[in-house]
């Protein structure tokens, strides 16, 4: 589904991602862990198409298409979704009409019929239950005045409505208490299907107790330095990241 080859990217001439390689297949959950500053969020933003980051090398194939050549909106329409680490507050833009516009753009691109207001509200009702989200939030402006937890839940709610092929969760656990974490993780788990995939980016192992990954990668200094099963996350929790630094230094391409 996703194939990243030798990806190099940076911001204002400073390299952040350096020859990063990653393959994600349909039906899989991958976790990317790593210390602060290792390039985790950069990877998420580059995949979503943020123009602040400059791609200096490598390629990314998304279901066979050249992802890096696509505009952000076309990536979303093709089924890529980024749950933001810091969702933006957008005063004056109603949550419901925004999401309806977004869903219908995605449906149009996929050759599906657009939903009318009644159909859309029925869908919203179903999905808010999944995330235990207060429907009143959706009559407000996008993320405006939402608590940290509500913002994160709203991201996963949007994901539930848009039904992406590949979801990237960027530090979705940060700022969540344990109850909210369980709800968010429960939502993500219910959305798992054999034909979609999830990339969970996180600093801590905690979230992975609830969203159990098939494969865990460690990202350090802009490249994947180690890949393993879910037990690798536990090992990192116990030993920290320092022991991997040597590996990062000695292996150009792990």
């Amino acid at each position: 589904m996703l194939e990243i080859r030798d990806l190099c990217a940076g911001v204002e001439g400073n390299p952040i991602l350096q020859n990063l390689n990653l393959r994600v297949k349909a039906g899989e959950v991958h976790a990317i862990m790593g210390p602060n500053g290792s390039g985790k969020s950069t990877l998420a933003q580059v995949l979503a198409g943020r123009s602040d980051y400059e791609v200096t090398g490598g390629s990314v194939l998304f279901n066979g298409a050249d992802l890096l050549a696509m505009k952000p909106e076309d990536r979303a329409r093709a089924g890529l979704f980024l749950a933001f680490q810091y969702p933006v507050e957008i005063p004056g833009v109603n949550s419901t009409s925004f999401l309806k516009a977004a869903l219908n753009e995605c449906r149009k691109a996929r050759g599906q019929e657009e939903l009318d207001a009644v159909e859309f509200l029925a869908l919203v009702k179903e999905k808010t239950k999944l995330l235990d989200l207060d429907p009143a939030l959706l009559s407000r402006s996008v993320n405006e005045g939402f608590s940290g937890g509500e913002k994160k839940r709203n991201e996963i709610f949007q994901m539930a409505v848009l039904e992406p092929r590949l979801a990237i969760l960027d530090e979705t656990d940060s700022g969540l208490d344990i109850d909210a974490l369980k709800i968010v993780a429960g939502g993500v788990n219910k959305l798992r299907r054999p034909d979609n995939a999830t990339l969970v980016i996180t600093h801590y192992q905690r979230l992975l107790n609830y969203i159990v990954p098939d494969i865990v990668h460690v990202l350090m200094e802009g490249r994947i330095v180690k890949t393993g099963g879910k037990e690798l996350a536990l090992e990192l929790e116990e030993r920290g990241y320092d022991w991997l630094l040597e590996t990062a230094a000695s292996n150009g391409k792990p």
Binding site: K71, E73, L103
Partner: protein, 457 residues
């Protein structure tokens, strides 16, 4: 989303009092005043004739404003003086209700209609008598015994400081009179509709409105200005509002005149104890618009809310000068203006707040934010706080900027195209003001106007 405000560059020093304008301008002004005087009716009661004569003399002394004066520094009125200014006459065939339906916001309202400043009784919808709401044209009032009018008309709007207000007082033709009795709530909003129809350049409609809300009365007024002609007409309108103790008045001015029109408006409210005045100024039309919106908070507990939205494009100049005068203690004011400027449009916002020595415990807040959509659009924004009391809370903020890249990206990351994302955000910035209007059909009509204005080309 917005860069910090750069203080406007220092301009030429304001003109000193007593220095007369250049001869040619002075002569031009005299010619204009004489032409208005020749057309003027003498049918007014003596007290008003006295006021008018004094105002005419003042207008003559003041002369036409120039950019050398601080109040007019950013707004050059010279193009108005170049027009063959004359009082607009009744022209063309009479309008029908069908002709004006599109200006009605689909609103079930009491309505007064003026065409080029002349009252059109046929097009009006008046309330039944006996419910405390009095509505009619000012000339009608002046023809009878009218102590309320005599006590208030031209007593509040300062014509000693503003040439156009003086001109209006000296020569207004007619206007709206709205009065609501103590303790009454108007069942429907009042719509004052001003239509510019003259095809003659320089045709000037001078209208004068008086709105009185007695103790505890509640009233909503829409004052809208539209054009049926594309001529370089001039609107000069003055509205005085007097709010008794505990009165609650919402006044929504919507200016959508055509692109060659000149629009000059002054609004002066005077507020008694515990009264609340909500003013909205939505300005999207005309080549040049100047709005002078002022309130005097004259007793404790009075509150004023001043909202505004100006949308400028092409070569438009839209100027708002607001004055909130905190004369007494325990009053509050909230001012919230947004501007969106494209093309080579020029916006001006000048927000004056006076806090007089007696006005302890004042709470005043002012916000002016501007979105510049092109490199050639210009905004001059200037908060001006003069505070003479020490126990007060006053805040102000002015900001100028472009659309937030972060917000555009967020919308795009959900599948919304770049252009649509920009439109959604621009419209949201405007809606932030529109949604404060408490008259639902007007709000809906303006949202629709925004959607059309920012629709894909």
């Amino acid at each position: 989303m917005i860069d910090t405000l750069n203080q406007p560059k220092a301009g030429p020093a304001p003109e000193r009092a007593g220095v007369a304008p250049a001869d040619s301008d002075q002569q031009r002004v005299q010619i204009v005043l004489d032409s208005f005087a020749r057309a003027d009716s003498s049918a007014f009661p003596p007290w008003l004739r006295t006021l008018r004569g004094a105002a005419r003399a003042r207008a003559g002394r003041m002369g036409f404003p120039t950019t050398r004066q601080e109040e007019w520094r950013f707004t050059n009125m010279a193009p108005v003086l170049q027009l063959p200014l004359h009082p607009a006459e009744k022209t063309g065939p009479a309008l029908t209700r069908q002709d004006i339906a599109r200006f009605a916001f689909g609103l079930d309202a009491h309505r007064l209609v003026f065409v080029d400043g002349h009252f059109c009784a046929d097009l009006c919808s008046l309330p039944e008598e006996g419910n405390g709401l009095q509505l009619g044209n000012l000339l009608g009032q002046l023809a009878g015994d009218c102590p309320d009018v005599e006590q208030n008309l031209a007593r509040h709007a300062p014509s000693d400081a503003n040439f156009f207000t003086a001109l209006n007082t000296a020569f207004f033709r007619d206007g709206a009179f709205v009065s609501i009795a103590a303790g009454k709530t108007a069942a429907k909003p009042v719509h004052l509709l001003f239509i510019g129809a003259s095809e003659q350049a320089g045709a000037t409609a001078l209208s004068r409105n008086l709105i009185l809300a007695q103790r505890g009365a509640r009233l909503k007024v829409i004052e809208s200005h539209v054009s049926l002609s594309d001529a370089a007409r001039v609107t000069n309108t003055v509205t005085e509002l007097v709010l008794g103790p505990g009165a609650d008045v919402e006044h929504c001015k919507v200016q959508q005149e055509s692109g060659r029109a000149f629009h000059i408006a002054a609004i002066q409210a005077v507020q008694a104890a515990d009264s609340r005045w909500i003013s909205h100024s939505i300005a999207t039309g005309s080549r040049l618009a100047r709005n002078q919106i002022q309130t005097l908070l004259n007793a404790g507990g009075a509150a004023a809310i001043l909202n505004g939205l100006y949308l400028g494009d092409a070569e438009q100049l839209i100027d708002h000068h607001t004055v909130v005068d905190h004369a007494r203690a325990h009053c509050e004011s909230h001012e919230f203006y947004h501007g969106i400027l494209a093309g080579r449009a020029h916006g001006v916002f000048n927000g004056k707040i006076f806090v007089r020595q007696d006005a302890q415990k004042t709470n005043a807040k002012q916000t002016n934010r501007n979105l510049l959509l092109s490199d050639n659009a210009v905004i001059d924004t200037k908060p001006q706080l003069e505070i003479f009391a020490d126990d007060v809370k006053c805040t102000h903020g002015a900001a100028i900027g472009q659309l937030s890249d972060e917000a555009v990206f967020y919308l795009r990351s959900r599948g919304i195209g770049a252009e649509q994302a920009r439109r959604i955000l621009i419209q949201a910035f405007a809606s932030d003001v529109i949604e404060r209007i408490g008259i639902e059909p007007v709000r809906a009509g303006l949202e629709q106007m925004l959607a059309e204005r920012f629709a894909p080309a």
